[in-house]
């Protein structure tokens, strides 16, 4: 039986798709058969971040409507074994995702996969509600910034009241916090909320802290999930998060400001 994990945030632009791509790819790298589903109907982007935009033939809504089957629609990643992508539709029909339709697709996938990662759209509209409804676990992506933290708290409230687990009175959705775009230097200068501040307010378990990194934009530019870049801090931080997600203990890294030496500055090391 597959574990369904939603990657959500409320606010847009905080790194949901980047995180979905990294977490999905990371799980597949550890040998777990994983599929990442883009729930952002009308504004699909997971395909671009994963670098498979030119291989999209059918999409999630086609499968729901019975216009294609899963086998035709899923895109197998060319770099990582065990990794598949289910792209969102570019239709403008907001009601394209029905609860029964989504359930049917997830049930079919559950027989075949170990992890189903649901990349949620921003907001608290139907697409976001569908993405989180069937989740067993949730990864809440937050920037250390007021509007993002507030929206994350809102999404936590929705997870606790509107998810299938909440409605059916089952064990609650397991919540994980991923803080992205973290800049230790600005935290030290008193200009940015610290990890402890955000943890304090949201009061959920910290899965990972991803430092603000040039590698993330570069990864998106090339359609390569940043976790494949072992040299980057962001890639390593996501890798640590995967370990924690799989139940291993890992210390949090990259929380302290890196003081660059004179020589490093001169040579322009990042």
């Amino acid at each position: 039986m597959a574990k369904i994990i939603v990657v959500t945030s409320g606010k847009g632009g905080v790194g949901k798709t980047t995180t979905s791509a990294a977490i999905g790819t990371g799980l597949a790298l550890r040998g777990h058969k994983t599929i990442i589903i883009d729930f952002d109907v009308g504004l699909r982007n997971l395909d671009l971040i994963m670098g498979c935009e030119r291989r999209v033939v059918y999409d999630f809504v086609n499968v729901i409507n019975g216009e294609s089957n899963l086998k035709q629609t899923m895109i197998k990643d060319k770099r990582v074994e065990n990794l598949f992508i289910l792209p969102a539709s570019q239709t403008r029909d907001k009601d394209a995702l029905s609860q029964e339709g989504v359930k049917r697709v997830l049930d079919e996938l559950a027989d075949d996969f170990e992890y189903i990662i649901c990349d949620s759209p921003a907001g608290i509209e139907k697409g976001a509600l569908m993405a989180l409804y069937f989740a067993d676990e949730a990864i809440v992506v937050t920037n250390p910034e007021v509007s993002s933290v507030r929206d994350s708290d809102r999404i936590l409230g929705i997870l606790q009241s509107k998810s299938r687990r909440a409605e059916e009175g089952l064990e609650p959705v397991k919540e994980h916090l991923v803080i992205t775009r973290y800049n230790p230097a600005r935290v030290n200068a008193g200009e940015m909320l610290s990890v402890a501040d955000v943890e304090d307010i949201l009061a959920i378990k910290l899965l990972g802290v991803i430092p603000e990194s040039e590698a993330v934009l570069k990864a998106s530019n090339q359609g390569e999930p940043v976790i494949l870049n072992n040299e980057s801090e962001a890639g390593q931080a996501y890798s640590d998060a995967i370990s924690r997600l799989l139940g291993e203990e890992r210390d949090h890294r990259f929380l302290e400001e890196q003081k660059k030496g004179f020589l490093k500055r001169l040579l322009g090391a990042k």
Binding site: V146, V149, D153, G157, L193
Partner: protein, 85 residues
């Protein structure tokens, strides 16, 4: 420490702690609202309508809160009447 340092320090306000304080307040406020049943705002309006038949008050003068303490729920109704009644 010179007198100038004093001014410079003041200028460098720690904005992160301001952010944290503001967030703590708004998040706590929104969480308490979240736990309220859906009928509460409507009930508040209806109570207000009844009172307005007799006394002139504002929606802001009526405060309805519901507290859940384990197995006992307390509905608290707080109405500020105008001074000259």
């Amino acid at each position: 420490m010179s007198i100038f340092d004093y001014f410079i320090k003041k200028d460098k306000k720690n904005t992160a702690s301001v952010a944290k304080e503001r967030l703590q307040i708004i998040v706590a406020h929104e969480r308490s609202k979240r736990q309220q049943p859906d009928y509460l705002p409507k009930m508040q309006k209806e109570i207000l309508a009844v009172i307005q038949k007799y006394v002139e008050i504002d929606l802001d003068d009526v405060n309805v809160t519901l507290d859940n303490n384990n197995d006992c729920s307390v509905l608290e109704l707080n109405i500020t009447l105008p001074e000259n009644t």
